[in-house]
Symmetry: D2
Subunit: 251 residues, 4 copies
């Protein structure tokens, strides 16, 4: 059995620091780098790529709507032409900077409101995938299994990597508990480790209210860089998985 | 005899249009594309690359300080670390988007205040060249012959392409007439054509006051996209050169 | 009979010019100034205020979503707290700069996608009005008669000024013809003048297909600064109105 | 004897937090608010004004070069026209938002590289003062005693408030120790309190190397919001001053 652990990274900007990139790079096996549209800037991006290289972590791009003030979490209505060009620009910038650091960009995972759009909207997902593919047809896509993005990736013959969460709870309908609700975040490392083991070894997750088990297939488990105690959570998850004999390695 | 004609391009932004990219792409043989820091955005950049592909024009990146409001023409004191990361980001973005359109990025020419910095400052020129080289060691540098950038390019074994102007006058010390002075711009197509012939065929240029001839070596002649009547100037220059038997083609 | 003529103004940005502010300020009686979020910058804003002062034109603020690249025309989902603070900031900046030029800010008219939001959404309109009112309770609101903004203004005891268009056609349901459809823009000065006379003197407008007359009440008629030939349209409208004995003056 | 204690505030941006505004507002008597150009945004600005109102703290504007990524600390060459318009816009925005919260803007203190410019350059200081004055001639200016800004304020009949630092050391020539040098920051609350007492009660400060006492006149003492332990430093300073019988109150 094998799983990848991923974290968002490079979400600082100018004088402002966010996340625990250095600590997380010692624990996870993949990171998704902010591309400068919702967070990150060239200096931050380069520093984070250098961290990744030293830690031997696999790197991906985390493109977003162009909205720093809203951290890419506000819905914006872009035309397909705008969306495609923006994704292309961001992936190209991070891919090229990765190459300059001797790394190969491995995956693309949409961020924030754009993530939610391409999980459910087939047309937008096709646009997104077209942009990624035109940058590099060997890139993997990361998102929810069974999503619009997964289908679009299949149509375009791009590898799709399904993701589940170690630090978020699930509702009975399979969706994540809304961040607006209590209990949406898992901040207890032991609870996160238990959920990670369930997903990885048994392909299921217990719902937030404990009433049901849902089937969840995942090749990578995400910890959000801004979840309080993210490094402790990721460490507990990794240790539990390795103790159980799971190989923790990039997809 | 052979010469390249180049123009800056892709300097529109969002709702705002600047330059005559479509007309110029029919006349010049190379364009330098704004990368989104002083001008351009992903939609503009992509559209301009598609223009270039249809017209068979060679493409380069035109990186700048991060200053849209000042169009990259205001001096900004960046640290070497900031400068390197910013040039890297911009060149990577344009190189990747070029590749996605089936084009190969061929050159890098700094813009505005950054251009003036790397023409005269050896340390900044080394930083600039390091960024370009780490993106792609086959890229050419474009700038004034004999400049700090030319020396830095030589140290790093990057091809340097020297540029002269068809639409700007020269002072007796070899510098361009300041844009603040009358007569700095050549807007008469015949005068531009005469200067282009002098530079290309005789390796010299007559100074603004007509008093002297200066030696000028150039492999490419620039027309600024925002010079009034730029397409007419470029057309007159091209026709005069071809009539004189000069091969007008990318460097 | 009396009517105000208004135009959007100050929509240039840095090196990029948009609109015909100087010509329009000689014709219209009110302008709505971009505040720096979708267009405009401090230099442009100040220059446009100076134009307005010299021309004796009444000034208003034209706040927007924070989206230069999309010119404020892309829907963005802001929280009420974000919306209120952003409108407040923009109106405060323009009001203070107006005062510094010896002018009194007279009205606020939302721009682009924000305009459409507060025309139809009562909650957003209340937020918008609260922001305007906390800046200055003597400010007027400008928008469609009968809109959510008109109702919100009434609840907050702010004067509401209803607007109709000299350069846009109307559909049978009273809405404007979508910019995506042919015939949405009126670019013939005579047609614009005829529509302006209908609205001002008879309180009605003929629909695009000519089939019906709709009742339209307006205290101000708008010409969009980016409509081709905007100054010629505004001049024809003004002359026709004055010839018909209508007083053209600020509301 | 009487002194004001001031801190920079409102330097968070979007998702990024900086400084300890809430804690500092309980201790200091004046704050200088980022205006959205180097830090701050409308939501942050409004929240900080509400903090200030609840804490009874006097408010000022802290205008900057337009450079978020560089936090306003990078030199930029603006023309006088650009500088004046930018200061005007920022002060107008913060003054208007203050008024909307029931507060009166009391002072303006330039930030970062702009601060250093107007401390030494008389022409730039005149431009700065003209912008401030045209917003509100009752505003105070804050800066170093004897600086170009102090002289420009005097010429324009604006009150100038001289500032010294509780958290920075001084060199023998009266300048602050460069942030690049060890010992530039005072992070020991007791050392800060001793320096604050020296400045306030004896009008002098001991140089970093302890060799000399320099005369320093100050009506306000600054603590930087990003100095480690800023609230503890400010509290120790305030307690020491009050114990010594100094009235700590806004200028």
């Amino acid at each position: 059995m094998r799983i990848d652990l991923n974290a968002d990274a490079g979400e600082s900007f100018g004088p402002w620091t966010l996340g625990a990139d250095e600590a997380l790079c010692e624990i996870v096996t993949s990171i998704s780098l902010a591309c400068g549209f919702h967070a990150g800037d060239p200096v931050v991006l380069r520093g984070t790529l250098q961290l990744a290289r030293r830690a031997g972590v696999s790197v991906g791009a985390h493109p977003s709507y162009p909205d720093r003030q809203g951290f890419g979490r506000r819905v914006m209505q872009l035309s397909p032409r705008e969306l495609e060009a923006m994704v292309l620009y961001q992936v190209a910038a991070v891919a090229g900077m990765s190459r300059a650091e001797g790394l190969r960009l491995r995956h693309v995972k949409p961020h924030g409101a754009l993530f939610h759009l391409v999980m459910r909207d087939d047309e937008a997902a096709d646009v997104f995938v077209r942009a990624v593919r035109s940058c590099d047809p060997d890139l993997c896509l990361v998102g929810h299994g069974g999503s619009a993005l997964a289908r679009a990736g299949q149509r375009a013959a791009l590898r799709f990597v399904s993701e589940a969460y170690m630090d978020r709870t699930y509702e009975a309908d399979g969706s994540l508990t809304s961040r607006a609700d209590a209990g949406a975040l898992i901040t207890d490392p032991l609870q996160a480790a238990a959920q990670a083991l369930d997903i990885t070894m048994r392909g299921c997750v217990r719902t937030r209210d404990g009433s049901r088990e849902l089937p969840v297939a995942a090749e990578t488990l995400c910890v959000h860089g801004d979840t309080p105690g993210a490094p402790a959570i990721a460490r507990a998850v990794r240790e539990a998985l390795e103790r159980a004999g799971v190989l923790v390695a990039p997809f």
